[in-house]
Amino acid sequence: MGIEKNELVNDFPGQIIPGGNGGNITITTLDKVINWGRSNSLWSLYFGTSCCAIEMMQTGAARHDYSRFGFEVARPSPRQADLIIIAGTIVNKMAPVLRRLYDQMAEPKYVIAMGACAISGGPFYYNTYSVVKGADHVIPVDVYVPGCPPRPEALLEGMMMLQEKIRTESMKHKVNPIDGFDQGL
């Protein structure tokens, strides 16, 4: 990892410790290949709770067509999905179900919180007894897409941001996002 970050050397204070033996090069190359595969093949789970689900469907439909990026294989089974797009409000009764779906997914798995409700509870933040104030109270979220509901273009942008995030991953330092989540880490 250290070798890649040469551009930081000039203005980085103190001593830089080089990455060491050549094993890293193999891993980073392999990382690149695998990240390329993972980022270009994000299969999402059929998951939409409310209004945002319609905009998510619009994103998949003919005009916006997220299949161009290879996202179109929506899987009904969490075992085969890589991505949950939380499209809509999460309420107290749904939260354990969402957590269970997330736990059922196979690693690596990613989460996009789509819309104000999934980010913070949105319009249902005040005076409500049943809404979870943000999906990140339940599962770790990678990308937040604001809007109520976000336009399809915004969702596409969010998905491409997720692709960028995946491209920076490294197998060596890979952590399961759920580790320590329940303890508030």
């Binding site: 107290n92 005040y126 005076n127 409500t128 007894y129 809404v131 104030k133």
Partner: protein
């Protein structure tokens, strides 16, 4: 099928309805103030019989229960039934209330109007009003282990509710 005539039907007027229902001797109270419908308030023990009569009587035939609302009037708990007749196209509102907040109980009307089965579950869920002879009275919207009845006026939830 020519249904155009059907749209112009206006059933009995409120005063006609009032006279007719008065003749059934159910000890009901009438009120037309502050509402666009004729409101009748009935005692809980007469609710089921009145409902049966309202539906089966040929002149009223209120066969379409379009809205069931649970109510918390501060002291009293109650249910408001909005009824319409699909043949005569007149409408009426039936109210029933009780001051028992610990264990409010009414008779179920879900054998008269099937739709009441779901609506009564909703009222039970939000107001804790129980219904006798209901086939499957349980919480419909809230988790089964939820404590309290959220739409009552005295409901407080400090964990989930952020009051603005």
């Amino acid at each position: 099928m020519d249904l155009t005539k059907d749209y112009k039907i206006i059933g009995m007027t409120n005063s006609e309805l009032q006279t007719l229902i008065n003749s059934w001797n159910f000890e009901v109270e009438f009120s037309e103030a502050e509402s666009q419908f004729l409101n009748i308030t009935v005692k809980p023990e007469n609710l089921h019989q009145l409902g049966l009569q309202l539906k089966s009587n040929k002149e009223t035939s209120f066969d379409f229960l379009f809205c069931v609302t649970g109510m918390d009037w501060g002291t009293d708990l109650g249910v408001v039934y909005h009824l319409e007749s699909t043949t005569h196209r007149h409408q009426i509102v039936v109210k029933v209330k009780t001051s028992d907040r610990e264990n409010p109980t009414f008779d179920s009307v879900c054998d008269i109007w099937y739709t009441a089965e779901f609506h009564e579950m909703e009222v039970f869920d939000f107001f804790g009003i129980k219904f006798n002879n209901h086939p499957n009275l349980k919480r419909l919207f809230m988790p089964l282990d939820w404590v309290g009845y959220p739409l009552r006026k005295d409901y407080v939830d400090e964990v989930n509710m952020v009051i603005k």
